[in-house]
C-alpha cells in the first residue's frame, strides 16, 4: 500500500507513522483529513499494541509544531488524539493516555490562549472516559496548578471558563478513583477552592456594576464555578469536608469577604457561598460546616465586630439547614459555643452599636438553630440557656451581668417563640419553670417584661396572644380560641399553679413596674386562664384576682397610678374569667362593676396609663366600685361552682400573713434603699407560705427568720426603753410643774398622739377588715414607720 503524498521516503517509515502523517493536510486550514483519520482509527483498533507508539509520535509532531508556531497542525493533532481516545477502549489505552496527557500539558504550557482552551476541552473529554485500568503513576498536580492559574486569568472569560472546566474535570477524574492522586490533599484543595470562589465572587462584583449584561448562556464563570463547587462539596466525604472548608474560610478572610470594604454590611456573598455548601454537602455531614464556622468565630474573637457579626449572620442563615440533621451532643455544643460568644461579647464589648449588632446576630443564630430542632430538644436548649443565666440572687452583680441576663433572656425568648407547646407539663419542667419564675422577680423591669414575654409565647397554644396583649373589658370582641384543657394540663396547673400565681403576685408588688409590666402580667394570667379554662382552676385565679385588688388597696409603696393599673387589671381579668369558663352570674356582676366604673371612675378601667388625671379618686374611697369577695362567692355559687375555698383563706393579701409581711418588708426595703438588691427573700417567703412542695434554700430562710426575730425583739426593747423614759419624764413633769403648765403641756401632747394614731389608722385603714389574729402583722408596719432606722439590718 502506498499513501502517496510523502513520496518514496514514506515507504521506509514505520507503518503507524505513515498513518499519522497522512491525517495531516498540506495546509492546516484544510482541517483533519477525515478519510485518513478513519484509516488510522481502524489501524489503532486492529492493532492496539501500536497505540502507545502512535500517541508518542503524535505528541512529538505536535510538540515540534508548537515550537514552530504552526498552531493549525497542533489543533489537528489534538483533534485526532481526541478521536483516537474516544474510539479505543482497549487496555492499551493506558499508555496512549500518557502521551495524550503530555500533549494536553504541552498545549497548556504554551502562551496561546486558543491552545490552552483546546487542551482543556480535550482534557474534559478525557475526564469523562471511564478507564478500566488504574494508573498509579499518573499525576495531576500540573493540571490542578495550571487550571487554577487559568481561573485567575485576566485575559478574558474564555480562559477562566476553561480553567474552571478543567478543575471540574480533574475533580471528576480523581474523585471516583482511589488509586490515582488524592484530590482532597490540601495541596490541591488550596488551589481549587480559592480559584472557584474567586470566580464566583468576581463576577458578582461585575454583576453589580452592569446588571443589564445578562449572561447569554450557562457558561459564565460564576455560574460554572458555582456548579463546580457544588459538585466538589457534594462528593466530599466526612474526612474531606474540612479540606474544602479551610481554604474557603481562608479565602473569605483574605479577600475580606465577610465584610466587603465597599459595603461592610453586605455579606451576601458569604451567605450565598455557605448556602451552596450546605445544600450540596451530604446531609449527614452538614453539621460539620456549622461546627467549622463556629470554630472560625472562635478564631476571630479578636477581629472587628463587623466581621464577627457577619460570620454569625452567615451562621444564622445556614444553621437552619443543618439543624434538621444535627445530632444530639452537637446541638448543645453549638448552643454552648454561641452562648460563650454572647458572654464574651457582653464582657468586653461595652455599648458599641456594632457589638450590639453582633449580639443580635448571635441571638438570631440561636433562634434559627432552635427553630429547626425537634421540640424536645428545644426544651432542653431552653433549660440549658436558663442554666447559663447569672441569677440576680448574687448580690454583687455588675451591669455586665445585667446585660448578659437580658441578652440570654432575649435568646430564650427567641427559642421560645419557635417552640410549639403541646402539653404544659412537658414545656415547663420544674427545673425550667422555677428559675424562670425566679427571673420574673428580677429588679430590672425590662427583664421582668422579657420573662413575661417568654411565658406568653410558651403558654399560648391557640394564637390568642395577639388578642390578649392589652387588658380589656370587652372580652366578647376578642374572638378567643378556646379548647377544653386536657387532664395533664390540669394536673400541671394544680401542681404548679401556686408558685406561678405567687410569682406573678410578687411581680405586681414591685414599685418599679411600668404599665407594660402590668399588662404583661395580665397577658400571662389571661393566657393561663384561656389555656387552662376549667371550673377547678377558676377559684385559684379568682383568689389571685382578689389578692391583687387588696394589694392595690393596701400597698404602701405602689404609686397611685400603679394602683389604678392594678385595678384595671383586676377588672379585666374578672370579666375574662367568667366569659372563658362560662359563669353567667359572675360575668354579669363583673359587667356591672365595669359599667359603674365607666360612669364614676374610668381610671379604674383599662387602658393602663403612666399618669392619671389629678382628680382621679383613690379606689379606697369608692368601695362600691371594687370587687367584693362575698359577691363573687355568691355569684360563683349561683353559677354552679363551689366557692368555699375562695371564701376560706387566700394565700394573698387577705389570708396568709407570710406573704404580706414578706411583701411589705420587701417593699419597705425598696423604699429605704432605693433599689431592690435583696429581692431574693420575698419569693422565698412566698414559696414557703404557699407551695410546700417547692424546695428552698435553708440558709436564706433562716436569715429571714432570724432577722425578723431580731427586728421584733429589738424594737420591743427600744419601745420599752422609750416608754420608760417618757414615763419618767412625765412623772417628773407632773411632780415639778404647776397645774396650769401641766394643762398647757398635756394639751398639745394629746393632739400629737391623736395625730399619730390617726396617721397609723389611716395607713392601715385597709386592714380593718382583717381578723384580729393578725395583730402581729399590723404591728410591724407601725414600727417601721416609727423607727425606720432600726430596720437597717
Amino acid at each position: 500500500m502506498c499513501f502517496g503524498c510523502c513520496g518514496c521516503c514514506s515507504a521506509f517509515r514505520p507503518r503507524y507513522k505513515r498513518f499519522v502523517d497522512n491525517i495531516f493536510p498540506v495546509y492546516p486550514q484544510d482541517g483533519l483529513v477525515k478519510n485518513n483519520m478513519e484509516k488510522l482509527t481502524f489501524y489503532a483498533l486492529s492493532s492496539p499494541e501500536k497505540l502507545d507508539r502512535i500517541g508518542e509520535y503524535m505528541y512529538q509532531r505536535a510538540a515540534r509544531d508548537i515550537y514552530r508556531r504552526r498552531y493549525g497542525f497542533v489543533i489537528i493533532a489534538m483533534e485526532a488524539m481526541d478521536q483516537l481516545l474516544l474510539a479505543c477502549h482497549a487496555p492499551a489505552l493506558n499508555l496512549f493516555v500518557e502521551s495524550f496527557l503530555k500533549m494536553v500539558q504541552k498545549l497548556l504550557e504554551s502562551t496561546e490562549p486558543e491552545l490552552q482552551i483546546l487542551a482543556t476541552q480535550s482534557f474534559v473529554k478525557f475526564a469523562n472516559i471511564e478507564e478500566d485500568t488504574p494508573s498509579y503513576h499518573r499525576r495531576y498536580d500540573f493540571f490542578v496548578s495550571k487550571f487554577s492559574a487559568m481561573c485567575h486569568s485576566s485575559e478574558g472569560d474564555q480562559i477562566r471558563i476553561a480553567g474552571i472546566k478543567g478543575l471540574q474535570a480533574v475533580v471528576r477524574k480523581t474523585v471516583s478513583d482511589d488509586l490515582v492522586e488524592n484530590i482532597w490533599e490540601p495541596v490541591h484543595m488550596d488551589k481549587i477552592v480559592p480559584s472557584l470562589l474567586f470566580n464566583m465572587q468576581n463576577a458578582r462584583f461585575l454583576n453589580n456594576e452592569a446588571k443589564e449584561v445578562i449572561p447569554e448562556d450557562q457558561t459564565d464563570p460564576p455560574m460554572l464555578a458555582e456548579t463546580c463547587l457544588r459538585e466538589l462539596v457534594g462528593r466530599a466525604s466526612f474526612g474531606h469536608i474540612r479540606a474544602v472548608l479551610k481554604p474557603v474560610l481562608k479565602h473569605f478572610d483574605l479577600h475580606k469577604l465577610w465584610a466587603p470594604e465597599d459595603n461592610p454590611n453586605n455579606n451576601e456573598f458569604a451567605i450565598h457561598t455557605f448556602r451552596i455548601i450546605m445544600f450540596s454537602i451530604q446531609a449527614q455531614y452538614s453539621y460539620t460546616v456549622v461546627e467549622t464556622l463556629v470554630a472560625h468565630l472562635d478564631d476571630n474573637a479578636k477581629s472587628s465586630p463587623i466581621i464577627r457579626t457577619s460570620i454569625s449572620g452567615v451562621l444564622s442563615k445556614i444553621i437552619a439547614i443543618a439543624a434538621g440533621e444535627s445530632v444530639g451532643p452537637m446541638v448543645l455544643e453549638i448552643i454552648n459555643s454561641l452562648l460563650c460568644h454572647l458572654r464574651d461579647s457582653v464582657k468586653h464589648g461595652t455599648s458599641m452599636t456594632e457589638e450590639k449588632q453582633y449580639q443580635d446576630a448571635l441571638i438570631n443564630a440561636l433562634g434559627e438553630f432552635a427553630n429547626h430542632l425537634p421540640d424536645y430538644q428545644k426544651i432542653e436548649i431552653m433549660m440549658f440557656i436558663m442554666s447559663k443565666i447569672p441569677f440576680p440572687l448574687v448580690d454583687n452583680h455588675t451591669p455586665a451581668d445585667n446585660l448578659l441576663q437580658s441578652i440570654l433572656l432575649k435568646s430564650l425568648l427567641k427559642v421560645g417563640t419557635k417552640y410549639q407547646t403541646i402539653h404544659l407539663n412537658s414545656t415547663f419542667p420544674v427545673s425550667f419553670l422555677e428559675p424562670l419564675l425566679r427571673m420574673s422577680l428580677a429588679p430590672d423591669p425590662e427583664m421582668r417584661l422579657l420573662v413575661q414575654k417568654i411565658l406568653h409565647t410558651l403558654l399560648d397554644r391557640h394564637q390568642n396572644l395577639e388578642k390578649l396583649t392589652k387588658p380589656t373589658v370587652n372580652v366578647s370582641k376578642l374572638n378567643l380560641v378556646l379548647e377544653k384543657s386536657s387532664r395533664p394540663d390540669l394536673i400541671f396547673i394544680n401542681k404548679h399553679g401556686p408558685i406561678i400565681y405567687d410569682a406573678l403576685y410578687t411581680t405586681l408588688q414591685m414599685d418599679s413596674n411600668t404599665p407594660d409590666n402590668v399588662e404583661a402580667v395580665y397577658t400571662t394570667l389571661a393566657l393561663l386562664c384561656v389555656e387552662l379554662a376549667s371550673a377547678e382552676t377558676v377559684i385559684d385565679l379568682l383568689q389571685l384576682v382578689l389578692g391583687i385588688q387588696s394589694l392595690a388597696l393596701n400597698s404602701t409603696t405602689l404609686s397611685t397610678s400603679q394602683k389604678f393599673n392594678l385595678h384595671a387589671l383586676v377588672i379585666s381579668l374578672l370579666v375574662l374569667i367568667p366569659s372563658v369558663v362560662t359563669i353567667p352570674p359572675l360575668l354579669e356582676y363583673a359587667n356591672q362593676i365595669v359599667e359603674a366604673r365607666t360612669q364614676e371612675a374610668p381610671h379604674l378601667l383599662p387602658d393602663l396609663m403612666v399618669h392619671y388625671p389629678q382628680d382621679s379618686e383613690v379606689a379606697n374611697k369608692v368601695p362600691h366600685l371594687l370587687v367584693d369577695q362575698m359577691a363573687v362567692c355568691e355569684n360563683l355559687k349561683s353559677g354552679g361552682i363551689d366557692p368555699s375555698r375562695l371564701a376560706q383563706t387566700s394565700p394573698y393579701g387577705a389570708g396568709g400573713p407570710g406573704v404580706v409581711i414578706g411583701g411589705q418588708r420587701n417593699s419597705w426595703i425598696e423604699t429605704a434603699r432605693g433599689s431592690v438588691i435583696d429581692i431574693n427573700a420575698p419569693p422565698e417567703v412566698d414559696s414557703v407560705s404557699s407551695s410546700p412542695g417547692v424546695q428552698r434554700k435553708m440558709v436564706e430562710e433562716e436569715l429571714t427568720f432570724e432577722s425578723m426575730k431580731k427586728v421584733l425583739t429589738e424594737s420591743v426593747e427600744i419601745r420599752k426603753e422609750a416608754e420608760a423614759r417618757r414615763r419618767k419624764q412625765l412623772s417628773d413633769t407632773f411632780r415639778t410643774a404647776t397645774f396650769s403648765e401641766l394643762v398647757r403641756r398635756t394639751q398639745p401632747k394629746h393632739d400629737v398622739l391623736q395625730n399619730k394614731l390617726n396617721e397609723i389608722f389611716k395607713s392601715l385603714s385597709a386592714n380593718d377588715r382583717r381578723n384580729p389574729t393578725e395583730e402581729k402583722k399590723i404591728e410591724k408596719p407601725a414600727y417601721e414607720q416609727n423607727f425606720p432606722e432600726l430596720f437597717f439590718y
Binding site: E109, S148, P194, L254
Partner: protein, 203 residues
C-alpha cells in the same frame, strides 16, 4: 525540541509591585512590559534552557503579591523546587517585609527548597537598600543573592540559569547514589532534592 532532561518548578514571591512578572517575562519572552498590571492569582510561564548540554525545563509560577491572593499563592510554594524572593531596591517597605515572607516560606514550602533573594530595579536612581544590606540579609538566611533589573535585562538570565544549574546539581547528586549525599556541596550548602517527584524525567 522536547527532550528535556529535568523539569524544575520555580516560584516567584514578594510584595506587590516589586517586578516579579517583569522578571519572568524578561526571561521567558525577552521583553519588558511597560504597563504591566497587577497579577491576579497566579501566572504561569515555561522556558527550556541548556545547562551543560542538557535541556532543563523551568516551570515558572509567578504569584500575585497582593495579600488577598495569599490563600492561592501559598499553595504553590509547596511544590516548588526553587523560590525567588523579590524585593524592590528603591522601596524600603518591600525589603522590610522579607522576614514575613521568609516565615511564610518556612511554613508552606518544603524545607529543602532552593531560596534566592533578588533585589530588583537596579536601573532606578533612587536606591534605598544598599547592595551590602541585601547581601547580609541573604547570608544570614542562607539564601543566594542577586541584584537584577528586568528593564535593562541585567542579571535576569544569570538568575534563572544559576537556579537551573544548582537544581540540576542537586538532582544529579540524588541521581548518582554511589556518592555520599553530604559530599555534594553546592556553594557551601548541603542540599538534597526535596521529594521524589520533584524532577520528572522523560525519555
Amino acid at each position: 525540541m522536547d527532550d528535556y532532561k529535568f523539569l524544575f518548578k520555580v516560584v516567584l514571591v514578594g510584595n506587590a509591585g516589586v517586578g516579579k512578572t517583569c522578571l519572568v517575562r524578561r526571561f521567558t519572552q525577552g521583553l519588558f512590559p511597560p504597563g504591566q498590571g497587577a497579577t491576579i492569582g497566579v501566572d504561569f510561564m515555561i522556558k527550556t534552557v541548556d545547562v551543560d548540554n542538557e535541556k532543563v525545563k523551568l516551570q515558572i509560577w509567578d504569584t500575585a503579591g497582593q495579600e488577598r491572593f495569599r490563600s492561592i499563592t501559598q499553595s504553590y510554594y509547596r511544590s516548588a523546587h526553587a523560590l525567588i524572593l523579590v524585593y524592590d531596591i528603591s522601596c524600603q517597605p518591600t525589603f522590610d517585609c522579607l522576614p514575613d515572607w521568609l516565615r511564610e516560606i518556612e511554613e508552606y514550602a518544603s524545607s529543602k527548597v532552593l531560596r534566592v533573594l533578588v533585589g530588583n530595579k537596579i536601573d532606578r536612581e533612587d536606591r534605598e537598600i544598599p547592595t551590602h544590606v541585601g547581601e547580609e540579609f541573604a547570608e544570614r538566611h542562607n539564601m543566594y543573592f542577586l541584584e537584577t533589573s528586568a528593564k535593562e535585562a541585567e542579571n535576569v538570565e544569570r538568575l534563572f540559569m544559576q537556579i537551573a544549574e544548582d537544581l540540576m546539581k542537586q538532582a544529579r547528586s540524588r541521581d548518582l547514589p554511589r556518592y555520599d549525599a553530604s559530599t555534594t556541596n553546592i556553594n557551601g550548602r548541603t542540599s538534597t532534592v526535596s521529594d521524589s517527584n520533584c524532577c520528572s524525567r522523560f525519555q
